[in-house]
Every structure is written in C-alpha cells, then in structure tokens.
Symmetry: D3
Subunit: 136 residues, 6 copies
Amino acid sequence: MATVQLPSDPEADARVRAVFDDIRATRRTEFVNNMWRALSFDPALLERTWTEVKELMASPTLLDPLTKEMVYIAVSVANSCSYCIHSHTAAAKAKGMTDAQHAELLAIISLAAKTNHLANGLQVPLDAAFDRGAPQ
Amino acid sequence: MATVQLPSDPEADARVRAVFDDIRATRRTEFVNNMWRALSFDPALLERTWTEVKELMASPTLLDPLTKEMVYIAVSVANSCSYCIHSHTAAAKAKGMTDAQHAELLAIISLAAKTNHLANGLQVPLDAAFDRGAPQ
Amino acid sequence: MATVQLPSDPEADARVRAVFDDIRATRRTEFVNNMWRALSFDPALLERTWTEVKELMASPTLLDPLTKEMVYIAVSVANSCSYCIHSHTAAAKAKGMTDAQHAELLAIISLAAKTNHLANGLQVPLDAAFDRGAPQ
Amino acid sequence: MATVQLPSDPEADARVRAVFDDIRATRRTEFVNNMWRALSFDPALLERTWTEVKELMASPTLLDPLTKEMVYIAVSVANSCSYCIHSHTAAAKAKGMTDAQHAELLAIISLAAKTNHLANGLQVPLDAAFDRGAPQ
Amino acid sequence: MATVQLPSDPEADARVRAVFDDIRATRRTEFVNNMWRALSFDPALLERTWTEVKELMASPTLLDPLTKEMVYIAVSVANSCSYCIHSHTAAAKAKGMTDAQHAELLAIISLAAKTNHLANGLQVPLDAAFDRGAPQ
Amino acid sequence: MATVQLPSDPEADARVRAVFDDIRATRRTEFVNNMWRALSFDPALLERTWTEVKELMASPTLLDPLTKEMVYIAVSVANSCSYCIHSHTAAAKAKGMTDAQHAELLAIISLAAKTNHLANGLQVPLDAAFDRGAPQ
C-alpha cells in the first residue's frame, strides 16, 4: 500500500525504461527496488532523483562507498525513514559492511542521538572556540 | 543562557575535576567545551556521559576517527542539534576533514534527507529482497 | 495492532456516536476512518480533536481546501507519520490533486528537506534583512 | 528577531488584553512571556492557543503539574524547540523540579532517544505480545 | 523483517543467555521482547544497552516508574519510533497506567507538539527572564 | 558563527560570481542572503543547490508561488530549521502572504503536528480504504 499506485508495467513508458536500464547497468543486477517503481508515477521526478543518487552514491567520489552508505543510514535513522533504513543497510551490506561494523555504526548513531537530546535539553551555549576564526 | 546554571568554578567538585582532567588528558588540550561545563551540574550524569563518549569516540575502534565524526555530524544535523553540529564539525576538522570532504558530507546528508522525505511521502512498500534471509 | 483497543462497537457510546454522525454528515460519506475509531477510547479526546480538525480543515477558511491538505501532508512527511501521510494524501486526492500536482508537492517537500539539512549543517547565520523591521 | 513583528503595545487590542489579563491572573505573576506577545499578531490564534494550554497545563487534571511539565519538556527536546525547552524548564523549576530530578529527566529523555535510534536502525519487528488482545 | 537476522537460538551464546536471564529475573516474566533478540546479533551492544536500560528504567530512582515510562513514550512518539511506542505503552500499562491517564498523556504530547511547531514557526525570541540568573 | 568560514569576498571566484549574478537577476534585488554566501565555500555545491532551487521555486510551475513557499515553510518548521523558517517566511511575505494567511498557515502546521503525534502515539492501523485500488 503506497500513496501512489505502483504500476504493473512501469517500463511501458520509454523514459522509465531508460532509467530502469541504467539502474540495472550501474548496479549490475536485474533487481530494481520499489523506490524506483513508486517514483515511476512521474517520469521526470524519477529521472531527476536517479541522476542525483547515481552521481553521488554510485560514482567514485572523495569518500569511499561504504562510508557514504553509513552516513546515509545515519540520516535515515534520525529521520525515521523505514524504507531508507532497509534499502541502505542492504546497500552497505552489499558493499562489505560486517556485523561488527554495523553494530558500531548503530552504537555511534544512538550515542549521537543521546547527546543531541542532552545538549538540546540543556540548551548548551556555543563556545567561542567553535568560531572558525577564533584561536582553538 | 542555558537551562542549568553553568557553574563559575565547576572543578571545585572533585568528581567534576577528575572528569575535566581526563578530558584534557585524552584530547591533549586545555580546552574543555561548554557541554561538559553544563553537564557538571550533575556529576554522575557528567561521568556517565563522558565515559560513554570517550570509549566510543576517543578510543581506537573498528571505524576510523574521521568516519565516526562524520556519522555523528549526520545524526546531529538530522536531529537539529545546533551545539552538536558545531562541536562535531570542529572535531572533524581537527581530525583532518578538508573543505572538499565537508562539502561532500553535506551533499550526502542533504540528499539522504531528500530521499527520506520522498520515500516517506510515497510510503514505498518494503521489497521482499531486503529480507536478509531472501535471495538478493 | 494499536496501543489502544479499537472498540468493535464504538457507537454504543452516545458521545462517540454523535461525533461519528457529524463526521459522516460533514464529509458526506459513510466511511469513518480508523483515526476516529482509535480516539473513541476516550470520548472527550475524540470530541476535542474532531472539533478542531473540522473547524480548520472541513470548513471554509482563507486558504483553499487543497492547499490546506498539501501543507498537512508536508508536515506529516517531515514528522514521519505514516498514517497521516496516507489519510491526507487520500483527502488531497479526493479534493482533486492530480498526479502531476502530487509529484510537484513531493518535489518541494524533498527539496525543502534537502536545504533544511544543508542550512542546519552549515549553521548559516541569520541575515539582518530577515528582521521584519529592517530595510529589505 | 521573529517571523512576525512583536507589537510594542499588544494590549491596545481588547482581545489581546483579555488573554494577557487571564495569563497574569492564572499564573499569579505580572510576567507575560514572548510566546504570547508573538501570538498576539493574530488575536484569534492567541485566544485558541491560550485556552488550550490553560485547560490542560494550568488546571487540575489527572496527572500532577510537575509530571505534565516533564512530559512537555521531553517532547520539546525531541522536536528541538529551543524556546519551548527554555520556557517549560522554567515552568518545571517554578513547580519545584530539583536539579537531581532535572538530571534524571534528561537522562531518561536521552536514553529514550538512544534506544529510539537503535530500534529504528534495527527495524525491530513488533512482538505479537504488544497486541493488547493477546496474552502477555 | 529487520536489518539484522533475528537468531533462532540467541541463547546459544553465553553472554546473550546471561542478559536474557537477567531480563527475565528483573521483569519477572518469561517473555523477552524482540528488541533484545535483535540486539543479540552483537552481544557487547546487547550487554551495554540492557545495563543502561536496567539501571534507569528497571531500578528505583528519584522519579516513580510510571512517570519514567510516560516520559519515555513522549520522546518515542516525537521521534516516531513505532516499536518503542508499542513497547513502552505496554510497559506503562503493566505499571498501572489507566486509559484516562493514557488519554491525558497523549493530549499533553500532542499539545506540546502543537506549541513546538507554533514557537518554531514564529521563531519566538527567548525572554531574558528564562536566564536562570535573572529575576523571574 | 557558521561551520564554514563565510568568505569576505566570495565573488572573487568566477563560478560563485556567476551564481550570485543569477540570483540577483532572477530575484531582481541586489540582496544575496547568507545561505548562498555559506555555500560558496564549495562552488560546485553552490551551483547545484541554486540550480535546483531556481528551477522549482523561482520558475513558473504547476503550483502557484505562494503555495510553494507555504509548503516550504511547513517542512522547515517540522524539521526545525531556524534559518529556513526565517528566509522562506520572508519570501512568502514578499510574494504577498498576509498576516491572516500567515496565522492560518501556522494553525494548520501546528494542528498537523498535533494529530501526527496523536496518530503516532496511538499507532493507528492503516484503513484498507487508503489503498488506492480499493473502493473509497
């Protein structure tokens, strides 16, 4: 059950087919996950979203692929996006994340959440030293 | 202005002094930031919080120190903790994060937020393939 | 599975029945969705909530009905309320939201989330020009 | 700096004056905090908001006044509302919250945030026993 | 479906068994809920999490047990942690929360959310009187 | 105080200058707000962000300009982005939002937040009727 109808044959639309083909080629798998099927209700939105995800997450950039996935998981957990947590944990696993790394990632995410709430609850004033022009 | 009074001489309390000494020794700096001064209103809470932060963030673990700080920043941004964003960006900078890495980190965080909101707005159903027992 | 028991016959309670009758009359449908069934565990909470929703969302006000639903969806997505996203997307559809408008709404919501996270990550200082007394 | 102009003389409006008088009488203080001054840009919104806050937070109800303030603080911290954290911590202090109780409250809030992020990160499936009709 | 495999026999691991035994003894029930089964994928994370939860939530402290659960629920709702809302509402019920108290708790949580969004939308400036050193 | 240094002369960089020129031409004002100055620490991130904002928010699309700003404000409030709330409220004002419309917008945002927290607290199960294939 989604807020849009997942089309039974999304690739009947040529623009959708082109994006799905690129997803399969880029990821080297026949599997196209539901995020892209749902987005296919609007081919332009699908194209823009895939282009952006591909350029940052599926192309070589400064940060290594697993670090990028771990940052993505961290944001998705804090924003409580169930679908994204599942899909990016699967992606991190596919890129080699071990159970021990997964446990440490969750430990950092949850510790950060803890101190976020402590600092917000205390309304800790900013230190002048955090000013990047100031002497540290 | 905080929700607790930042004590003028927190180290008059022996337990607070011990924690502050450990912070200075662990971080090799005389600087103790306001988070710890605010927490010193309750020495037991200060001790427990520092112990936990030290073990995970200031000790060698599986993930490298800069990756850990970047995950911490990601959670803090998504939770909108202004103090934490400042303090952990400063920590990441101190551990060598370049401006280019910082820009890429922010690009990943904000792209994740974008697709989090898309997936939540669409209420995308989970793929059976995300089941870890299922064939990928 | 809810945190309260959904009563099998909520309208056995006269106050609940009165609210359900008003929901049906106001919306011109026999359908009463689960939100109101769940709230019927406490008739006073049900009455107050329906009164407030009816006055703002089911009565003529300054903003047009579809704009109001789109704002409601935007908040519900950002707060990750799965039930609310479904129910208010259904309401927007019933008020005429096309797929193209839905796609643009999701594009705006997700772009806002992206720049929210960018601005929070950068901790951009407020411009004096945003002061409503200042010259723009 | 607010998104509305704080009027220099809000009580020139009779409806605003009536609300401010009721705030002062209910709270037994001459002090009217900025939340109400900001809301006075729209007297109807001011009236509705004060009525609702007064009925639940400034009147005798089932839960005791300090417990109510602590719950309010908890939500405000998780929603990152700086103004609300300050105002409701001040209210809790005025109702007798000790520093030790404050510290414990912050410990619970931050532990809850920690396990919220753990459970979301793990996507823990619901236990059948949480179904209120099921045997515990 | 979780992001880690729930082991079929978690207690084959001695550390996991010790934690589960302590959960059963502390709570006086044979029931160990899925949160702990999921965490058993990493025995160290399981041990640390249980120890922390036990010390604060399952031991006598300043605040009474039901107040602590209500604060926990409040944070979990605001952070949109479905699992936590279910598990801590069940815990509050087990500690005697009546339906009337539950309704009032939800009323406070949702009113706080409402004024959080109002105050954030208005960007209400802090009152000098909230400064704990200032005269109230 | 930001997490990056706001350059004193950002337009010394030709790419930054081109973006700032386009901002000024598109908005017909000499004023370039701090968001763009902060983003100029990474010209590529600045370019991509401005391009995306311009295409959706500063160009004619399906939804009218004021509705788009109101949706943007709604998301920014729920995500607690202080800077974004200020900048987009200013933009909505510049596009003609009256005080009465502003008050109604805030009333909808805060009511949505209230029912989001109620529905999440109750964990209301989805109605089959929300399934877009089902009879309403």
